[in-house]
Amino acid sequence: MTTFTITRTLDLKGFACPIPIVRTAQAMKELGPGDVVEVLATDAGSVKDFAAWSKTTGNPLVEQTQEGGVFRFLLMKKGDVK
């Protein structure tokens, strides 16, 4: 199992669609290739939405876990790592 260094954590628990996706995209803009964002969300739709977001943007969803009602996503910014 690969361990990832988390660059930034976004606590988006409680927020409804489309906030988890939108806030993640906003945060990604400020990061560099290879950086990993940890997203914590409770929106049940976010599981499908982050998969779709990852597929469309090409930013890999490198890890996904669930603890209680909280979904945790690790998303990596795509591009060449310097």
Binding site: M1, T2, F4, G14, F15, A16, C17, P18, I19, I21, V22, T24, A25, Q26, M28, K29, P33, A52, W53, T56, T57, G58, N59, P60, L61, V62, E63, Q64, T65, Q66, M76, K77, K78, G79, D80, V81
Partner: protein
């Protein structure tokens, strides 16, 4: 449950940023409705599409132009019919009616209260996010002339007013919605 994928190798050509190359076509919305639920849905779709890296344009026309009016604006227009219109149909996101169960504005107030308790972003918040994510907000020049709305009656951070040709050009190759 843990799903772990291998760290991707860096075989791709240099990509400066995720937003630099949209994976698929864009989204263009022709918003002709000023109803709260339709404006809300349009903003949710727009911010999400922008978050997916797509170029997004909203063309605000007819009743759909009114959400772009500044909330603090009272009476607008040059001639009496336009002024009357601005009283009967006040502009600004704060004054949008629901298409059903409006009850003189009680419906929208209750809907917003519900949205707040469920942490659903308000149209105002979504509009700010849309700007931040680079969604192009284009007011229809013809509607502005027709309804007597000047550029200074509209909010900041939007594109220059334009016509149908601009809107159609933005729709080229994009997913297009008429709302």
């Amino acid at each position: 449950m843990t799903i772990t994928l291998d760290r991707p190798t860096t075989e791709t050509a240099p990509v400066p940023a995720a937003e630099a190359q949209p994976a698929t076509g864009g989204l263009t919305i022709f918003l002709s409705s000023g109803d709260l639920e339709k404006v809300w849905a349009s903003l949710i779709l727009s911010t999400t599409a922008a978050a997916l890296g797509k170029p997004v344009t909203i063309f605000f026309t007819f009743w759909g132009l009114f959400p772009l009016v500044r909330n603090e604006k009272g009476i607008t227009g040059q001639v009496w019919m336009q002024k009357m219109l601005s009283v009967m149909n006040r502009g600004g996101t704060s004054h949008l009616p629901l298409s059903k169960l409006n009850f003189m504005g009680a419906g929208p107030a209750m809907m917003r209260s519900l949205a707040k308790s469920h942490q659903v972003a308000s149209p105002e918040e979504l509009l700010e996010m849309a700007k931040d994510l680079g969604v192009k907000l284009v007011p229809c020049q013809m509607t502005m002339d027709l309804m007597g709305l000047a550029r200074e009656d509209l909010i900041d951070g939007i594109e220059e007013p334009a016509g149908a040709a601009t809107a159609l050009a933005a729709a080229e190759g994009a997913t297009t919605l008429f709302i």
